[in-house]
């Protein structure tokens, strides 16, 4: 890429760019807060979805295993957090203990899904993962009897927010004369986690494991002949993708304070997958762009479509939700026609679609 070459030739340019982005990201929540705290919340959700998309990208983008039930791991993480930090069982563990537990639980579920599907590829794998996602959700929905664990469709409420010592993430605090509201605090925490996940992803891509994933994505028998333990490497992809999902789920539960099975339906899996595909499978930056676009655009529409219709026709003719799906479908179609490898494709995917 020309851009990377340019950066290599001039590191000062790279670092000033990074500094600029860092400043923008640091100031962002206060700018958003001026437009309304809602927008900070929307941004937080967008970051959560970016985390999810990056986790799914490991499975789909790096290892080439199509997973349509990814939201189940998000759910496992969220329920783990909710059960260990709410009045449900009257357990209130601190978040830095629960988040790793949630990641581990999701990881176990990832291996549970991965192990029986090792020999499946493409469509068949997609069907099994889809079923898995639904099974997990149905469990959340029905584990209220005979022993009430998940509280069924009512979900779990009054989940503890993150707190360290006396510093709680859902109260406002004045620090250095600035008003840090709950969502703003979460924003910084999420940003920190996002940066960590991005760094882990970048390191993974360049690692031996990353190369092994690349090989099994291309040709599994040949990968074995290269000395790659395909079983282990595939399970690792499922496990790692799942644990990122689990962490995101735990944070989601804490931020919302309430979860129910409705948050983990198939459409959510499809949404996360769309983020990966739209942005550019396998390319970390592309996936981030895809996730941010698909998180923010619907919110923008929600806030513009109805007022616009009211001012034009005096009343709301089309439900914003309908407009959203309409535009989403249109966008996907246009993408497949004009940028089939995604908005910002990985080098390898771009090659596939241009050279052959």
């Amino acid at each position: 890429m020309n851009l990377t070459d340019k950066f290599k030739a001039n590191p000062a340019l790279l670092w000033s760019g990074v500094a600029l982005i860092a400043c923008a990201l640091a100031v962002l929540p206060f700018v958003l807060a001026m437009a309304g705290t809602t927008w900070v919340r929307v941004t937080n959700l967008a970051i959560l979805f970016t985390l999810l998309a990056l986790g799914l990208n490991i499975v789909v983008g790096f290892a080439g295993l199509l997973d349509l039930g990814y939201i189940a791991f998000y759910g496992v993480g969220a329920y783990t957090y909710a059960l260990l930090a709410s009045p449900q069982f009257n357990i209130h563990l601190p978040f830095w203990i629960i988040l790793p537990i949630g990641a581990l639980a999701a990881c176990v579920f990832g291996v549970l899904l991965g192990a029986p599907t090792l020999k499946l590829r493409g469509d068949y794998l997609a069907i099994v993962t889809l079923g898995f996602g639904e099974i997990v959700r149905i469990f959340f929905n029905n584990l209220s009897q005979p022993v009430n664990i998940t509280n069924g469709p009512q979900g779990i409420s009054r989940i503890d927010p993150f707190s360290i010592g006396g510093f709680s993430f859902n109260q406002s605090d004045i620090i250095f004369g600035l008003n840090f509201s709950g969502p703003v605090k979460y924003y910084y925490l999420l940003l920190l986690v996002l940066i960590m996940v991005i760094v882990i992803n970048l390191r993974l891509e360049d690692s031996r494991i990353g190369r092994a994933w690349q090989a099994i994505r291309e040709d599994e028998v040949a990968a074995q002949a290269m000395g790659i333990n395909t079983t282990r490497v595939k399970l690792l992809a499922f496990a790692m993708g799942a644990s990122f999902g689990g962490v995101a789920g735990g944070m989601f539960a804490a931020i919302q304070g309430f979860i129910s099975p409705e948050s983990f339906v198939l459409v959510e899996s499809v949404m996360v997958l769309s983020m990966v595909v739209l942005g550019g499978m396998g390319n970390i930056w592309g996936v981030i762009v895809g996730a941010l676009l698909l998180s923010f655009v619907p919110e923008l529409l929600r806030h513009t479509v109805e007022p616009l219709q009211r001012s034009l026709f005096g009343r709301s003719l089309i439900d914003p939700e309908v407009v959203r799906m309409l535009l989403f479908g249109l966008a996907l179609m246009l993408m497949m026609l004009f940028r089939p490898a995604g908005l910002w494709p990985s080098k390898v995917r771009k090659r596939e679609l241009t050279e052959e």
């Binding site: 190369r211 291309e218 028998v221 074995q224 002949a225 333990n229 090659r351």
Partner: protein
């Protein structure tokens, strides 16, 4: 080096390989020839651990190999050039060769071996930044062989390297295989092109419907009337 005895493979009740014996000594070039469906590829799959044999033993340098997965054999000095080449189509020639050295850590050694492969196949050097999928069939076969050499194997197993290639290209590939053998690599070549295979190898096994029906020195096999009739297209 490689000893196979009583090897039997079945696919759901159908016996594809019906108890064969086969041996390859260190430094030798041996070929396994036979028509389509004779069980050659199945035999090779059982030898490499891609499928589990129903009975029999495969010994490599005296150690039992049945049950050892394919990916663990590369560290023991066995390399496989899979049927249909099996290159990584979206990776460049260079990246493909890099994958061949997946189990090695010596950066300098890998670099050097990469150059040796390019010396062996100058065509690959020209195409080093092209993706595998854009190469011609012959070039892909070169890449598959070169990639297998990147693990510095002592035993190289080739599955029908002549498949789908133009005669001139086949000639070239076979010359290279001979050059690799001259470097001290033991070779087991599974082939349909009996004439060419017997011309470069020292010994040959002839396979038919899952059994080895003939086993002799290559010149004798080439002269054998049965082989000439069945595989070399001589009128009966």
């Amino acid at each position: 080096m490689l000893e196979v005895s009583g090897l039997r493979v079945s696919y759901g009740g159908i016996n594809a390989v019906k108890g064969i014996d086969l041996a390859v000594r260190a430094g030798e070039m041996v070929t396994l020839i036979g028509a389509n469906g004779a069980g050659k590829t199945t035999t090779l799959k059982a030898l490499t651990g891609l499928i589990r044999p129903a009975a029999g033993s495969v010994r490599y340098n005296g150690a039992e190999m049945t049950g050892v997965a394919l990916h663990r054999r590369i560290g023991m000095g066995i390399a496989l050039v899979p049927e249909g080449r099996g290159i990584f189509p979206r990776l460049t020639v260079e990246e493909n060769l890099g994958m061949g050295a997946y189990c090695r850590n010596d950066r300098d050694g890998i670099r050097g071996d990469c150059e040796r492969v390019y010396a062996l196949f100058p065509r690959l050097a020209e195409r080093r930044s092209q993706t595998g999928g854009t190469l011609s069939g012959g070039e892909q076969q070169m890449l598959a062989i070169g990639r297998a050499m990147m693990s510095r194997p002592r035993l190289l197993l080739l599955d029908e390297p002549s498949m789908g290639l133009a005669p001139l290209m086949v000639q070239k590939i076979f010359e290279t295989i001979r050059a690799i053998a001259a470097d001290g690599v033991t070779i087991l070549l599974v082939e349909q092109n009996a004439k060419l295979a017997l011309e470069i190898c020292q010994r040959g096994y002839v396979m038919e419907s899952g059994e080895i029906i003939l086993h002799d020195n290559a010149p004798n096999l080439l002269a054998n009337p049965q082989v000439r009739r069945a595989y070399l297209g001589e009128p009966s």
